[in-house]
Symmetry: C2
């Protein structure tokens, strides 16, 4: 179970409207986007909650990707439903409605298999819940978490307690600044490291991503995409590719391994935005991933 | 003169206010930033105009960098003076005052040496003036130009005539979109290529830069800088490093050469923002440039 990732986060139905079309109650949620991406590299077990309306076809879709759903609890009521809209520039999602539904009662409970997973990814949920999951775990060799502006504002003390115990933190630029009060990302990352994590990934959308690990700073570009259809879940897909590759690697603390993980994260998220919901990442093949990875890495190999 | 760059553009005095301090009537202008950067790689001749107040020390500063100032005309009156301010995020310069002064009478006149330069860079000035310069030239083997939103709005027909005759265009994201009406940068670049240029560099500030050349697309990250002091002229400094490297190379159309040029542009602009005005780029040494270039390229060489 050394290479198996346990992911705890949201499972959702997303209704999204964009200039390229729209989707109704499509498969979404941070744990889902993460899992579909990570399962391309390593076994994944998912812990989440859905309502009785959660379509059986989505369950099959995830299982076919070898994602263990034993931890996906079904509660009376409806599944988390997000309704959103993107403008032409795809910079910010406009939330039209958030129906938390059964997600409001989410109390992650791990079984014995979950507890023995070597790698843990705490997707963006209440930091108190993230800590309760960590407390239930055995001794994972790699723990990473995501968070958001809402928790930084409302539950900072709880988040800071969590950060003491995680190896890697995923944030976007604004979250890094909000967490530290420092505008410059290099300085902000250094301050976050003092809070606990030894590695920080700053997701920057179409500006790529930055990695801070010990004394190393790495900035990588996004893979240019000609037709962005739906960026929902791109950040979780990035984290899935990154963590999936790290989980499968013999030594995740090796900087060469981490740089490749950044590239796989980039490549997986570039697939994510090409179609609605999980359509592209759920069906992309290993050779397609390898081919885009090689093209991306070759292009950046400046001779 | 095959490798000599002729640059035509503004010479200015800049008064800039930032969170890290301010500067009064410091050396600036597109031709100046470009020249100081390009002259690290190849001989540069500058064509511009200044007033009688232009400080002798700035003239000496440029000459010591082997920039030929024979084309720097002195007119009765004052030098172009820009007064601006940057916020903490350094995203947009706020213009407080623009005193064009003698720059309003700028009518670039080339001497015989200028006309024989192998490479021409038309910095951001009125496209009618850019065309008049091109008409005076012999047969340069590489012509590049910059422009801005103002000319795209006010003089688009003239700009389009110019674009038919240039090899490379430098724009930022908004300019690429404004010029084509297309939001996606890959699609926008393809439309611009139909207007004439076979290469397009899209400058994206701290998100790096993108290059489109024939069928190739390359996105490179910015070199992360811990303390951004003054971004004025960073785009022209990028163009200077890029064009300087291309001018000195045996075959500028080779994609490997162009990729290195993108990296040198990135590295030069990373120096530019580290201090006010031209202080850093005007004093940086060859070994410092090489060291940062090697670090940048090594970091992106994902093994």
């Amino acid at each position: 179970m050394k290479n198996t990732i346990l992911v705890v986060g949201s499972v959702a139905l997303d209704s999204v409207d964009t200039i390229h079309g729209s989707t109704k109650r499509a498969l979404g949620g941070s744990a889902v986007h993460f899992s579909l991406s990570a399962s391309q590299f390593t076994p994944v077990k998912m812990v989440g909650v859905v309502g009785q309306d959660f379509p059986e076809k989505y369950r099959g879709y995830l299982k076919r990707r070898n994602i263990s759903l034993e931890g996906m609890e079904v509660l009376p009521g409806k599944t988390f439903h997000w309704v959103g809209r993107y403008d032409r520039d795809y910079k910010n999602a406009e939330t039209i409605a958030t129906h938390l539904n059964v997600f409001e009662q989410f109390k992650p409970k791990l079984n014995e298999d979950h507890k023995r997973c070597g790698v843990l990814f705490l997707a963006n949920i209440d930091p108190d819940l993230q800590r309760s999951v960590l407390d239930q775990m055995g001794e994972p060799r790699l723990v990473a978490c995501d968070t958001m502006n809402y928790w930084i504002s409302l539950k900072k003390p709880s988040l800071l307690k969590l950060l003491k115990k995680v190896d890697m933190l995923f944030v976007n630029e604004e979250e890094a600044r909000q967490l530290t009060g420092e505008y410059n990302l290099i300085k902000a990352a250094r301050l976050i490291m003092k809070m606990g994590p030894r590695g920080i990934v700053v997701k920057r959308g179409d500006a790529g991503a930055m990695l801070f690990f010990k004394d190393n700073v790495l900035s990588v570009p996004a893979h240019p995409i000609e037709k962005v259809v739906d960026p929902t879940g791109a950040g979780d897909t990035f984290a899935g590719g990154f963590m999936g590759y790290l989980a499968a690697a013999p030594d995740w603390k090796n900087f060469d391994v981490i740089r490749r993980a950044m590239s796989y994260g980039t490549v997986m998220s570039s697939f994510a935005v090409e179609d609605f919901s999980t359509k592209r990442v759920g069906t992309v093949s290993k050779p397609q991933i390898c081919s885009r990875f090689n093209k991306y890495v070759d292009n950046l190999h400046i001779r």
